[in-house]
C-alpha cells in the first residue's frame, strides 16, 4: 500500500537523458513547459506528442513506470476534461437536459488533459532520471545565478525532505503495525471514526519526526555545517557538448511551438 508511493523516485540507468547535467534538465523542463502552453491547435499537439514520446524513449524509462506516476493524478485530469467538455459554449453536438457537449468543449478538454498528462510525464521524468542529490545541486546553482537569497538552504531543505520520504514511510508502517497489534483498525468505519483512528498513528509519527530532525541538526552541527557560506563541492557540475545540444533542441522546440500557432 504505502510502498507504492513513487514521488521523487530515481531509477538508475545510462541514457542520453540520465547523463545530462541537472541544470540542463531543469532549464529545459522550464522551456518545455513554455512550449507546451504555447501550442493551441491539433498539429501543434501532434508535434508536442511526438517530441515527448521521443524524450521518454531516449530516457530508457519504461512506459509502465510513467503511467504509474500519472495514475494518482487521473482524477484531476478527468475532472479537467469533463469540466471543459460540458461547460464550454459553442456548436452543440449532443444534448441531454442541461448537459451538453460542444465541439469546442471537446477540443478544449482534450487539449487541457493532454497538457496535464505531458506536464506530469516530463516532470516525473526529471526525478526518475536524476538522483535527488544532483537535482538539488543543480537547483542550488540555478537559484544562485538568479540571485535568490538562501539558495543553499532551500536546496538543502529539499535534499533532506526527499531523503526522509522513505524513512517516514517505513516508520509509518511500523507504528501502524504496532497499533494494529493492539487492536487498532485503520481500514473500516465511517469518515469520522477513520480520522480519529489516525491519532494513534500521527502522534508517534510527529514525535519521531521532531526527534529525528533534532538529531540530524545536531549531527550536522557536530560536523561544522554552517549553511552555504564558503562551501565548495567535491563533484563540480560541468556542462558538456551533450548539454549544449539539448539546449539547441529545446530552443528549436519552442520555436516550432510558436510557429505552430500560425499554422
Amino acid at each position: 500500500m504505502l510502498k507504492d508511493i513513487t514521488i521523487g523516485q530515481y531509477i538508475p540507468g545510462v541514457s542520453a537523458v540520465h547523463n545530462l547535467d541537472p541544470r540542463t534538465k531543469i532549464i529545459c523542463l522550464v522551456f518545455y513547459m513554455v512550449g507546451l502552453f504555447l501550442v493551441n491547435n491539433a498539429l501543434g499537439y501532434l508535434f508536442v506528442t511526438l517530441f515527448t514520446i521521443g524524450i521518454v524513449f531516449l530516457s530508457h524509462i519504461s512506459l509502465m513506470t510513467i503511467l504509474k506516476g500519472i495514475r494518482p493524478l487521473m482524477i484531476i485530469i478527468l475532472l479537467t476534461l469533463s469540466l471543459h467538455v460540458f461547460m464550454t459554449e459553442g456548436e452543440i453536438i449532443w444534448q441531454w437536459g442541461f448537459l451538453k457537449i460542444t465541439w469546442q468543449g471537446l477540443r478544449q478538454g482534450t487539449f487541457m488533459a493532454l497538457r496535464l498528462i505531458y506536464l506530469v510525464t516530463i516532470t516525473s521524468l526529471l526525478t526518475l532520471t536524476t538522483t535527488p542529490l544532483a537535482l538539488t545541486d543543480g537547483l542550488e546553482r540555478i537559484l544562485k545565478r538568479l540571485f535568490v537569497p538562501l539558495a543553499h538552504e532551500l536546496a538543502m531543505m529539499m535534499t533532506i525532505a526527499l531523503r526522509f520520504i522513505p524513512t517516514l514511510i517505513e516508520e509509518t508502517e511500523k507504528i501502524m503495525k504496532a497499533q494494529m497489534a493492539r487492536g487498532a483498525d485503520f481500514e473500516s468505519g465511517g469518515l469520522l471514526s477513520r480520522a480519529k483512528s489516525l491519532i494513534p498513528l500521527l502522534v508517534p509519527l510527529f514525535l519521531s519526526s521532531f526527534r529525528r530532525a533534532d538529531e540530524l541538526a545536531m549531527a550536522m552541527e557536530a560536523r561544522c555545517y554552517r549553511g552555504g557560506e564558503n562551501r565548495t563541492r567535491m563533484r563540480q557540475l560541468v556542462m558538456s557538448s551533450a548539454d549544449y545540444l539539448a539546449f539547441m533542441i529545446i530552443f528549436l522546440f519552442v520555436m516550432v511551438t510558436i510557429y505552430s500557432r500560425f499554422w
Binding site: A181, R182, G183, D185
Partner: protein
C-alpha cells in the same frame, strides 16, 4: 492449542524487481506454556517471522495456524487473533501517543470493546505486571517518563489485551543493564504465571538464562530448533553464522580446550561455578 507454522515462506514485493526473500521453509510449533527464544543475526528474518504469528503479515506460501484458526483463510477474525497473540515491537515506547499512562494502556482493551470498569481493572493489572505503581503513574504523561519506564508502560499496553501468547521483539534493546534485568525478570514472572512467551533477541546471555527452547535463524530460515542447552553445543556453526554463545558457556569451552574435563552445556554462572568446583575436587582426589 499451539501456534503452528507450516512450510511458511514470505516475499517482500513479489513479482517486482525489488523482490526480497524474507522467509523460506519455516516449520515451527509453539506449544502452550513454553518459553521459546528466537535468535538470529540482523536481517535473518526474525522480525518478519514474528509478524506472521498474529497476522500482521500473511505468508506468501504455507500456513499459519493459531489455535486451530488459519490466518490466511478468508473469513478469519484478525482482531480475535491479535487479542490472543500479543506482540511487543522493538522500541515499543515509540508507539505511545496518549496524554496519560492510563489512556495509553487502555487503548488496546478499548479496541476490544470492553466496558469501562473492565478496562480499569485491566490497566491496573497490566501496570502491576510490569511493577509500576498504579496510583503514581496512571495520570502521568507517558512522554515524561524515563526510557525504562516508557518501555514498561508500552509493554503494559500489550499486556492489557490479556494475550495467551506474548511475543517480544528485542525488549531490552537500548536499555541500561539495570533496566534490562528488570524487564527480563518481569518477563520471566509472566511466564511463570502461565503465559506462553516468545523472546526475540540477539543477546545469547539473555536467552540462555530464561528460555527452555531456542530457535536459531540464519539467512531467512530456521537452522536449529532444540533445547537451549543443546543449541550451544553447535559452537562452531553458531560462530560461522556470526552468533555468539553465552559468556559462561564460552569459558567452559576454553577450559576444555586447556585440558580441563568440564561439561560444556553450562548456561549460568551458578552452574559453571558448581561444575568447576566439582572438577577441581576430583583432580585433588586423584592427586
Amino acid at each position: 492449542m499451539p501456534i503452528i507454522l507450516e512450510n511458511v515462506a514470505h516475499l517482500y514485493q513479489p513479482g517486482s524487481s525489488y523482490e526480497v526473500k524474507a522467509l523460506q521453509e519455516i516449520n515451527l510449533v509453539i506449544k502452550e506454556g513454553e518459553f521459546v527464544g528466537l535468535i538470529g543475526h540482523t536481517g535473518s528474518g526474525k522480525s518478519t517471522l514474528v509478524q506472521h504469528l498474529n497476522g500482521l503479515l500473511k505468508p506468501t506460501k504455507g500456513k499459519v495456524i493459531v489455535d486451530d484458526c488459519q490466518i490466511s483463510a478468508k473469513k478469519v477474525n484478525l482482531k480475535e487473533i491479535r487479542k490472543k497473540v500479543g506482540l511487543v515491537f522493538q522500541y515499543p515506547e515509540h508507539q505511545l501517543f496518549e496524554e496519560t499512562v492510563f489512556e495509553d494502556i487502555a487503548f488496546g482493551p478499548k479496541n476490544l470493546g470492553l466496558p469501562p470498569e473492565q478496562i480499569e481493572k485491566r490497566v491496573k493489572k497490566a501496570l502491576e505486571m510490569v511493577h509500576l505503581d498504579y496510583e503514581k503513574y496512571q495520570a502521568a504523561s507517558p512522554f515524561l517518563l524515563s526510557g525504562g519506564e516508557k518501555r514498561r508502560v508500552a509493554i503494559a499496553g500489550v499486556l492489557a489485551m490479556e494475550p495467551k501468547y506474548l511475543i517480544l521483539d528485542e525488549p531490552t534493546a537500548g536499555l541500561d543493564p539495570r533496566g534490562r534485568d528488570e524487564i527480563l525478570e518481569q518477563i520471566k514472572e509472566l511466564h511463570q504465571q502461565g503465559m506462553t512467551v516468545v523472546l526475540v533477541s540477539h543477546s545469547m546471555d539473555d536467552v540462555a538464562r530464561l528460555t527452555q527452547r531456542l530457535v536459531v535463524m540464519h539467512r531467512n530460515t530456521i537452522v536449529f530448533d532444540e533445547e537451549t542447552r543443546k543449541v550451544f553445543s553447535h559452537y562452531e556453526s553458531l560462530q560461522e553464522m556470526g552468533l555468539d554463545i553465552p559468556t559462561v558457556t564460552k569459558l567452559m569451552f576454553r577450559l576444555k580446550g586447556k585440558g580441563w574435563l568440564v561439561r560444556q552445556d553450562v548456561l549460568t554462572v551458578e552452574e559453571a561455578k558448581k561444575e568447576i568446583l566439582q572438577v577441581l575436587k576430583e583432580a585433588r582426589n586423584h592427586a
